[in-house]
Amino acid sequence: MDSLQSYLIIAAILFSMGIYGVITRKNAVAILMGIELILNSANINFIAFNRFGGMENLDGHVFSIFVIVLAAAEAAVALAIVINLFKNIGSVDVDDADLLQG
């Protein structure tokens, strides 16, 4: 089990689940969870490639740490926006945000 392939398969599954979540969910918070899945699948890729790919330096590890930090920042901003939307229109459903169209 301890091979590059199994990690890549897990990452691919997470990635697909993330995309599925973003496309099908109507709840803004659930969409954000899908985006987190995509980011984490990329993290698994980075770590797995670094561990099994015979790389000399730790670029992949560094990259994934930066991604974790950025994911937190992005989630903070996104949730603040969702809360503000909830205050104004009383819903976090993306279908209810339909003022701008055409």
């Binding site: 995509i38 890729n45 969702v82 503000n84 055409g102």
Partner: protein, 488 residues
Amino acid sequence: MSNLSSLSFYIPELIIIIAILLVIVLDVIPVCKKYTFPLSLGAILLASVFLWQSYGESHGLFMGMISIDPFSHFFKMIFLLSTFSIILISRYEKQLDSNYSAEYNALLLIVLLGMFLMSSSINLIMIYLSIELVSIPSYILAGMLKNDKESNEASLKYVIFGSFASGLMLFGLSILYGITGSTDIGVVTAALQAIEYPLSIYFPLILILVGFGYKISMVPFHFWTPDVYEGAPTPITAFLSVAPKAAGFAILIRVFYTMFTLEGSVSATLPLTNINWPTLIAVASAVTMTLGNLLAVQQEDVKRLLAYSTISHVGFMLMAFAIISPDAVRAIMLYLFIYLFMNLSAFYMAIFASNKLNAHHINDWDGLSRKNPVLCAFMALTLISLTGLPPTAGFVGKFYIFAELFKHQQFYWLAVVAILNSVVSLYYYFKIIKSMYLVDVEGEVNKIEAHPVVNWSIILFSAQNILFFIYWEPLIGFIEKSINLWSG
């Protein structure tokens, strides 16, 4: 270059970082709150002085994380100019709450810093970080009007599309890292050229294109553009339509010319063997300009119309990007520079109309030429320039792009699509001119004067459309000097 010795080449960015911190600190002290506005403008001016002084130097900084070269300097000047003008004009925009002006300026400066890094990053980590550094404050800026439902919705759509696109790009970067074993784009290039299975590059290439395409609002990643542009405060719309787009093109050119061409430099003429991305770009370009134009035709809201028109302009710039040659890069840079002036002046006019007349709809602009003939004349000039007719700078920009297409004898069909699109764009730009000049309003008409800053911003930015039509040779000379990317 080591970290400590890099700092002396990093002064413009350091000035901006210090200004961001100072603005945030001063905002907390009630007495000093009013100094944040001059401080932000002063920092930008100071940064431009230092930037101008170091023009022509070419170094890799911070152990190969970012590079400074004439190419990034050219784009940094575009960013400084647009940010300066946006910060200045935002003060006279009625929609924005002046209580939050310090936060607003700090966020704009953070975006400016992000764009600086975006135009000069040469490492996959920096590419991702800088794109996020531009995106995250932009989400907040789009939702700056906290109690306005449209602004809320704009920022929600922006944050969802933006983080989705950058997530996809990140996955592409991780695959690219796996294929090549490095995050330095110089090493990545060498590894890609020696690759055994070239087809495996397609997957990361397309995912990376999603991330960049979202930043420049290339179809099919454009869905956020009209909604965000309509909902966001108008100065932010003007800003987003110019500066981050230029940054997106800077990083697009740098990454694609370095990583995905045979020669691996800006003087390249061929794509990587078996990787036919120019055709991909050509198709995307045709779809982008056609969709942008056709949807703009039916718009009644001025900001939304201008949003679709920016999409079609991106299609034009991508047209030159489909040709791999240094001259095509020159055409894109020239177009971006001219586009900065025409787009900003058009949006400033929209700011004037919404401030003084509360006019958002095209019909609200009826008879505007009788209320303020001077600004309307300049607006008409801008619109002619956006269409690309002589005697304006828009014509020069379009001319260079078409010349590139014909010179390389590639994609003739794309040129036909582009010419047809220019005709379509004539219709909707002249809809605004018609509304300003030909539709008469009944009754007494009062003259409406704009605030001097808004007034002169429109006039100065719009006058460039004539200036660069008569006298574009120094500009072209400067751009040719700037097509010089740092490599290894």
